[in-house]
Subunit: 331 residues, 3 copies
């Protein structure tokens, strides 16, 4: 494995093999597996789990890491091509990223969607421009429309919870004061489809996931025996659901139009997950990648209750990333 930037680059079998390695490393630590190896972690955007768990994963395997936050202690980095750099950014990623890669054995990069032009975000323009600059092992720490580490941790969580391969997973939009990126819903949708699940995307009007994302998930589902559909009807979607995967994202009808998004979401504060959502799905577990706004996206009663799997999900970032790093840096 040379890169871990998209779960879609791997076959179902390759993913299962990564998960098997993750479970093995959970049980049989390998504290010297990556002795002498060094990972650089570049965060253009905030992080808690990714920031902590990648440092932890390298340390747990005997390696080391360093963290760069452009603009905080380090130079603000320009990402646009061909620009005359007379503004705030002191350095271009075309210099900064290869330089950082030259100091380490693997690089991780987080860069969120710009949220202005859907085609550009779907094309992963910014992440791919950086990825093309280096040939060291590379990990996507969350890009415009992808978050493969989260998706892999989610898959392991579904296994840990003994959710059947063909179980029903409802990926539900939830309220948030601002428009958030599509990375996690896109990655979770694809993951569940690739796992072979019956996936229902539950979202209000104006928040349908882009056609390219839906289509990609349908292809994965077709190959794995699963299915993908979408609806705005909560009761129907949740009936008998095994898992409610909650996520906030921005309006796609008028992508990047901040005012329109705000107007739309102002009417949707009822999309806060509460216990009464589960009347027809009493065993349904709740997943969320975190961070989550309590009583805004999910109510306290759900997060503090027995159906919440968010802690397991977050913890699983560690073993799956150890498996990814093991594959990237040992082979």
């Amino acid at each position: 494995m040379k890169r871990f930037v998209d779960l879609g680059d791997f076959s179902r079998e390759e993913v299962l093999s990564l998960l098997e390695l993750a479970r093995r490393l959970e049980k049989q630590p390998e504290p010297h597996a990556l002795a002498g190896k060094l990972m650089g972690l570049v965060f253009f955007n905030p992080s808690l789990r990714t920031l902590a768990s990648f440092q932890a994963a390298m340390a747990r395997l005997g390696g080391n890491s360093f963290v760069i936050n452009p603009g905080q202690g380090s130079w603000q980095l320009e990402t646009r091509i061909g620009v005359v750099m007379d503004g705030a950014a002191a350095e271009h990623v075309r210099e900064g990223i290869p330089v950082l890669a030259s100091y380490c054995d693997a690089l991780g990069i987080r860069v969120f969607a710009e949220g202005k032009d859907l085609a550009s975000d779907l094309a992963e323009t910014t992440f791919n421009a950086m990825a093309s600059l280096i040939d060291k092992p590379l990990v996507n720490l969350e890009s415009a429309v992808n978050h493969p580490c989260q998706a892999l941790a989610d898959w392991k969580t579904l296994d840990d919870l003994a959710v059947p391969r063909g179980g029903r997973l409802v990926l539900s939009w939830a309220y948030h004061p601002r428009a958030l990126p599509l990375a996690v819903p896109a990655a979770a949708l694809h993951m569940a489809a690739l796992r072979g699940m019956e996936v229902i995307v539950l979202r209000p009007e104006g928040f349908a996931l882009p056609a390219a994302i839906m289509e990609r998930a349908r292809r994965a589902a077709a190959a794995s025996g699963g299915s993908v559909r979408e609806t705005a009807e909560r009761a129907e979607a949740l009936e008998g659901a095994d898992v409610l995967y909650v996520k906030e994202w921005g309006a796609t009808d008028g992508y990047g139009d901040v005012a329109a998004d705000r107007a739309r979401r102002a009417a949707l504060t009822a999309w806060c997950v509460r216990e009464d959502w589960f009347a027809a799905a009493p065993e349904c577990r709740v997943m969320h990648c975190l961070p989550v706004r309590r009583n805004t996206a999910i109510a306290d009663e759900v997060l503090d209750g027995a159906r919440s799997a968010v802690q397991r999900e977050a913890y699983n970032r560690l073993p799956v990333q150890m498996a990814v790093l093991h594959q990237l840096l040992r082979s």
Copy 2:
């Protein structure tokens, strides 16, 4: 030992045993004692000594650490219970803290007093709410009214300076432009009392330490053969003193009333420690936990003179924390 959150959780003998271990580790390094161990360090507030010395302590013992600064590179964390999170904080400590704990073998948390409600700060509401969420070894990196690592380093410093067990320690208020928390004066007072010293709290009117803090110190003194009293008369307090422990803190008469505190302290700029304070205590040493504002709380002449022990005190953070980590992670 499962937690190091309050020196008051330990008997005098247990503290002496920790200090003995600290001295042993100073002389006989154990560079592999914590091999494979990982500590997460969460700072809700700024730090220099704690930030550097805990990373150093883990490294010196062969372990690793990572640092999280909520709101700086990482999400701003909400601490209030039951709140509707539609403000600046993207995540609640109820998620964030257990997640971080799940990645490491020990967690350290720094969270200063809110400085609004004395009862809430005395109850360590915020720190305890986080502490209750995890069952991993936990270290208090400074909470609302406690700083046990500083207190332990101070005790070792008193020993290093050969200050007699029953010597006189004057804990003196000093001027600072703003109201600072009670954590260090409370911890230093309790430490000196538990060590068995004659402790005098020297403070202007309006700055008396809260009754609960004084009472707790008196109990510790009673059990250890020491004593605790308070005064506003500097000359009397300092006569024959062995140690002047200097610290700035906010007005307690009207706790949390910023304007009242400011008015009160404006008249107290003479509470800057100068050489002429020591006319009747020529051998008196000066301690301060740092950071200290020069020529505001303590004059250059004192900090740069022979009676200053602040460097020894700061250095001692390293060996005592190594001892704490050794106890937390080896047993």
Copy 3:
């Protein structure tokens, strides 16, 4: 070696020996050479290469490091002597720097020029005040008018590029929206002179390097068989040049006068390095310490072309710093 703060502290032979060690460590890694060693890295100013490469260098040699950014997660540090600290800074370097040194085996400090008083900056007032406080091994991570790690990496780069000892190196001023410090041009000039090169400083009127810096370089050149001169005529300087070393810096005619500097540089935007500069020096390589503003100081066509050596230069920070640390912490 006790300190690495100025390349001028070392003879030409000592520098050559450091470079030989750097090349050896490149080929034969020593992953345990600094086992148990700890470096503290203090950055008063932003960094990318230095920040990442020193952490990498310690890790590559089996050691550890921690990073302190005063004012970001750590207290803002006062550097002025004798001041009454009633402003923003909570701590003085007179406390903070020795404390940090006491936790580690070597300390690195970055503190840029104040850019107000030339004599003070030339005297390295701020850096030297800190350096005088500690006796642990110390590394200059860039001070007011020096950057020895960059200079050493540049020397290695010249060797890697097989630039002859007596080759022509043109140190050219380039446009930048703001006045930048003299550290890199001063260090590069001295390095090239000490290497024995024919050095030409190419700069517009008002931007001549200070006499003390020029004089020092002339002495180094005299001892090494090189030469140093300056001009404002680009065509003449570049004719047959082996290397164009590009750097932005502030006006020295009226040092510290921001308005005058701005007025002067507004007319100099043509000092952006483009391919047509090299008509009479087709084989000329381009060096720059980075960060560089694309299409402001150097055009895309040059940075992305075959004559650019900036990546090699940045990468070389790692092996030369490994050599420096090896010398500081092994002997």
